[in-house]
């Protein structure tokens, strides 16, 4: 495949999706150090938010080390070239959070919904488009759960609400390259030519790089990754690896490959509480099609109620749970413990 000379925008997720494996405990200082290094390495976009987006601070998802406002203010003022984005899930965050993030200096807002529920983003996307120069992105999660045709209807809805860029998001790390190709290609054909198209991968089946390359080949121009893969489940598409592959293929990212590798190795890996990799449970997420940030919740419940994490995750997949249903995990674990007679 010849992608020589193709220009794409790579967006780092360490300081948002990476909050999941860190139980939202990344400190303001760590965020500033990491983001300055990323800026220096030419990474053009950096997401900074609670793992579950603006307003995610909760019992259900975890209380963070600092508030979104503190993180965003600290990072935004240090950036020379990189643009900072924030994520918002309607139902968790509100337009009040969005306004706060804009006041802190973000350049991009990404409004995320489950892949079939794009209409809940209307309030937020229509409001975001009225803010001057705010890059407004619609983000459809768990996109493996519906076919390309259905997905495009939802993407177009977000485009109509005012998104200048829309994303196909493999939150469960379930997709294989052909799944990405069919979805991205149809979206590219059906969306307005000026609407940007992105792909956000998870590495649970170790398909992060292959899927992202497939997305670029099919017409995506924004790709999410995270240095050293710091993200939910087995992590996001490892950004330094993806950049290296892009270099080899002649895809232009504008990122200094060696600097990206150094940040991953010298800053991100030492920050990890556990190695973010395709272990048995992360692999189960990708295999069973489960929202990646359920991983640590399932592990904790498995430990507390003497169950197997894999059994919990497989059952969550079978019940077709969606992003945000972390509260279901302890409830389900209690049911399973009762059923096996250990409670």
């Amino acid at each position: 495949m010849d992608l020589q000379g193709k220009k794409i925008t790579v967006h780092d997720m360490c300081l948002r999706d990476g909050m999941h494996p860190k139980r939202h405990q990344i400190t303001v200082d760590e965020m500033v150090t990491v983001s300055k290094a990323m800026d220096e390495a030419g990474i053009p976009m950096i997401e900074v938010t609670h793992g579950d987006g603006l307003g995610g601070s909760s019992v259900n998802y975890g209380f963070p080390a600092a508030s979104d406002e503190e993180y965003l203010t600290a990072v935004c003022k240090e950036m020379k070239n990189a643009k900072v984005s924030a994520l918002l899930l309607p139902g968790i965050g509100t337009v009040d959070h969005l306004k706060m993030a804009v006041d802190c200096g973000i350049s991009t807002i990404r409004i995320a919904t489950h892949c079939t529920e794009a209409d809940v983003s209307e309030q937020h996307l229509t409001m975001a488009r009225t803010i001057d120069n705010l890059d407004t992105v619609g983000f459809l999660m768990m996109a493996h759960m519906i076919e390309a045709e259905e997905l495009v209807v939802q993407l177009k809805m977000m485009e109509d609400f005012g998104a200048n860029c829309v994303y196909i998001t493999d939150s469960a790390g379930y997709m294989l390259p052909d799944d990405v190709t069919s979805r991205i290609a149809l979206a590219r054909a059906e969306l307005k030519p000026e609407t940007e198209l992105g792909f956000h991968g998870h590495h649970n089946l170790a398909m992060g790089i292959a899927n992202s390359v497939a997305a670029v080949a099919a017409g995506a121009n924004r790709i999410d990754g995270s240095l050293a893969g710091l993200g939910a489940g087995a992590g996001n598409t490892p950004l330094e690896v993806f950049v290296a592959v892009c270099d080899r293929m002649g895809i232009e990212t504008g990122i200094d490959t060696f600097k990206a590798m150094d940040i991953a190795e010298d800053l991100i890996v030492p920050m990890m509480d556990h190695m973010v990799r395709v272990d048995r449970d992360a692999l189960t997420l990708g295999y069973a099609g489960v929202y990646s940030s359920f991983l640590l919740f399932a592990k904790r419940s498995a430990e507390k109620y003497n169950l197997s994490t894999r059994d919990i995750l497989v059952e969550l997949g079978r019940r077709r749970t969606v992003g945000g249903q972390e509260d279901m995990i302890e409830d389900l674990a209690l049911d399973m413990a009762k059923a096996q007679g250990t409670l």
Binding site: N60, G91, D96, E117, D119, Q123, V322, G324, E330, D335
Partner: protein
């Protein structure tokens, strides 16, 4: 029929129609008007078949005769945006407004928690918070009546099919209004609400999780008893209000896992979120009606 208070339902959609079916069984409420804005609305046609007066001209269409028709209670099942205007108009005609939208211009009402307060204050507009609020605030209150709750958080998961266009368009009103209700009625110092919409087929029954953080270590026995008592109270008007698991105690965290199955009057049983709203609205109206019938409360134009 003379010992019933006459009522109007504004909004002939799913909620309004379900409310109508419940109200027809009431011993103290008689629904006489259904108000819509679309002449083609199947909800209006259904109400007309059941013998109600109908209009597709909005509240304006009912105003000229509503006093003559004896309407003393109105339910608003439209949207937060038009509610204030609807309420002003029917209040002027001397009818109490029971607000099923998240507009929240009147005091919040969660029947087992503070219904009598609203009636005692003779409020001419009461707000039913949100579906998630009706399903969860009683349990926050069940904990806070035992001991200080510094933080109350609820997660409501509803099936995609039961989340109507109004909820979707104004999802922020849900989170804000519910959070405020957790504080004002639930008694938590700080409230937080989360809603998740799940498209699984067959549709899932409404699930609710209530997390409370207590100031001191939780009194497990007293809280468990209080939660069970409160669930029984809600079951009086929503029989499918069921404790799935908990209360789970983990340090100062108290977590309660609920499922809410509806009666299946007009709305399907999985839509417990909508059923608890219409049931709570009707329950509120019935208490008002009893006060009116006993001569203790005469709503007057305001």
């Amino acid at each position: 029929m003379s010992n019933k208070i006459k009522a109007a339902i504004i909004g002939p959609g799913n909620i309004g129609t379900d409310l109508l079916m419940k109200a027809q069984r009431s011993e103290v409420i008689e629904p006489v008007w259904m108000v819509g804005v679309d002449a083609e609305s199947p909800g209006l046609a259904r109400a007309a078949q059941l013998g109600l007066k109908t209009t597709a001209e909005g509240v304006e269409g009912m105003l000229p005769t509503m006093q003559e028709d004896g309407v003393q209670i109105c339910f608003d099942a439209t949207s937060a945006y038009v509610h204030a205007e609807n309420s002003r108009k029917v209040n002027q005609q001397g009818a109490v407004m029971i607000d099923l939208t998240p507009a929240a211009i009147g005091p919040f009402c969660v029947p087992p928690v503070n219904l009598l307060d609203a009636v005692t204050q003779k409020a001419m507009n009461v707000n039913m918070v949100t579906c998630g609020g009706q399903a969860t605030i009683p349990l926050v209150a069940a904990v806070s009546r035992v001991q200080e709750v510094v933080y109350g958080e609820i997660v409501a998961t509803v099936s995609s099919k039961s989340a109507g266009p109004g909820t979707r368009k104004n999802i922020d009103e849900f989170t804000r209004t519910t959070a405020k209700g957790i504080e004002v009625c639930g008694g938590a110092h700080t409230g937080k609400a989360i809603i998740v919409i799940n498209p699984a087929e067959p549709p899932l029954i409404m699930r609710d999780t209530v997390h409370c953080l207590t100031q001191e270590d939780p009194d497990q026995e007293a809280i468990t008893q209080s939660v069970h008592d409160m669930i029984q109270e809600v079951q009086q008007y929503v029989p499918g209000y069921t404790l799935k698991n908990g209360p789970v105690f983990d340090g100062k965290r108290v977590s309660i896992y609920m499922e809410v199955e509806g009666l299946g009057d007009f709305l399907p049983k999985y839509a417990g979120n909508l059923d608890i709203m219409t049931a709570a609205g009707l329950r509120t109206a019935e208490i008002y009606a009893e006060e009116m019938l006993a001569g203790r409360f005469l709503p007057t134009a305001c």
